[in-house]
Symmetry: C3
Subunit: 138 residues, 3 copies
C-alpha cells in the first residue's frame, strides 16, 4: 500500500467564500502515482468545509441559504461567542456543508460523475487556513 499526504493553504479575503480546488487535488493525485485507492480531502479547520458540488450561481445560493439557516448576526445569539469569538455561525454552517469528501481513485484519476468538482468553503476567512489531502492505495 502507498500513501501520500499534502497540505493545501488558502486565504479567502472575505468572511465567506468558495473556491474550486479540483485542480490542486488532481495534481496531488498525479504526484502520488497512486492508480487505485481512495482520496480523503478535509478542512483542517472547524469553521470551513470541503464539499462536492458545482458553481454557476450556486455559490451565491449556498451563501444566502446558509445565512438563513445559521445567521451570523446577532453574534450574541450564540453561547460560543460569549468568550469574545464571533464565529459560532461558521461552525454551524460548516456542519451543514460537511468537513470532508472521500473520492475513489480509478486508473490514476478522480473517479467523478459529469459535474462533480471539489470546493473549499470558507465561513470565517481573512486568515490562512489549510486543507489536507491524504491518498492511500497502490
Amino acid at each position: 500500500m502507498k500513501s501520500y499526504r499534502k497540505e493545501l493553504w488558502f486565504e479567502i479575503p472575505a468572511r465567506r467564500g468558495f473556491i474550486n480546488i479540483t485542480p490542486e487535488v488532481r495534481s496531488c493525485l498525479a504526484e502520488s502515482g497512486i492508480q487505485e485507492g481512495l482520496v480523503l480531502v478535509n478542512a483542517m479547520h472547524i469553521t470551513a468545509s470541503v464539499f462536492i458540488n458545482d458553481e454557476s450561481g450556486l455559490h451565491h445560493d449556498f451563501d444566502k441559504w446558509l445565512e438563513k439557516l445559521a445567521p451570523h448576526e446577532p453574534t450574541s445569539g450564540y453561547r460560543h461567542n460569549d468568550s469574545g469569538e464571533d464565529n459560532a455561525d461558521a461552525h454551524l454552517k460548516r456542519s451543514v456543508m460537511g468537513r470532508e469528501v472521500v473520492v475513489a481513485v480509478t486508473k490514476g484519476k478522480l473517479d467523478f460523475g459529469p459535474w462533480e468538482q471539489i470546493f473549499y468553503g470558507e465561513f470565517d476567512g481573512r486568515r490562512r487556513k489549510r486543507v489536507l489531502v491524504k491518498i492511500i492505495g497502490e
Copy 2:
C-alpha cells in the same frame, strides 16, 4: 491491496424519491471478494445523495423537512435557476443529506449496526443517474 468498482444506475420516476440500495451494495461486496477494508458509496450526480438511515415513515418526513429547509418553489428565488435550470433546491437538499457514505468491511460483510441501511436520495429525478461503489481492502 484489492480494489473493486461498479456503477449502479437508477431512474426515479418523480422529482424526488428514496430507494434502499443496500442489497445492490451487498452484491458488489460479495463480487469483490474483499474481506477487510472500506466501501465508498457516492452519488455521481450533484443533485442526489447517498446516506444511511431507515424507512418506516422517515422518507415522508425527510421529504417534507427538506422542502421546508430548501423549498423547490419559487424557483426564481435561486440564482442558479437564472440560466434556465429549476433544480437549485436539489443541490441544497443534497448538501443536507450528504454525497457519500463510507462503510467498514469486516469478515466480508458490511459492518453495520442493527438498523443501518444505505439509501439513494433523488432530488431531481425523471432521468437515469448513477451511484459509484468503490471497495478497497484485501
Copy 3:
C-alpha cells in the same frame, strides 16, 4: 494491508448530548499499530452522529440550532412517530451532523488541524449505543 476494528459503547443519560471521543479513538489507533492509512469512525445507530468540531459553548449552540431546524415537539408532526416512536427528529438531526468521519493517519497519529476533535452526538439517548472504529493501512 492491516486492519483494526473496535466498538465503543456510550450511554448518554439525557435524550440529547455530546461527548468528546478523541481519546478513545487515539487509543484505538495506538492499539492498531497502523502508521499510514485511514480511520473511519461512525455511529452504528441512525439517531446519533459522529462529527468533528469543538466545545466551548458550541454544544449548547448545536443543540438549540438543531431543535430549531428539526424540533422534537410536536412528535405527532412526523409520520415516523405514527408507529409509536417519538424519535423522528433524532433521525433528522443526525442527518445534519453526519453519521461518520474519515480521518487521515500519518506517522501513527490522527492527522488533525489545531482544533479538530471527534465528538459523539446523541439525539435519542438514555440507552447503550455504539460507535464503530475501523482503521486500515500499514
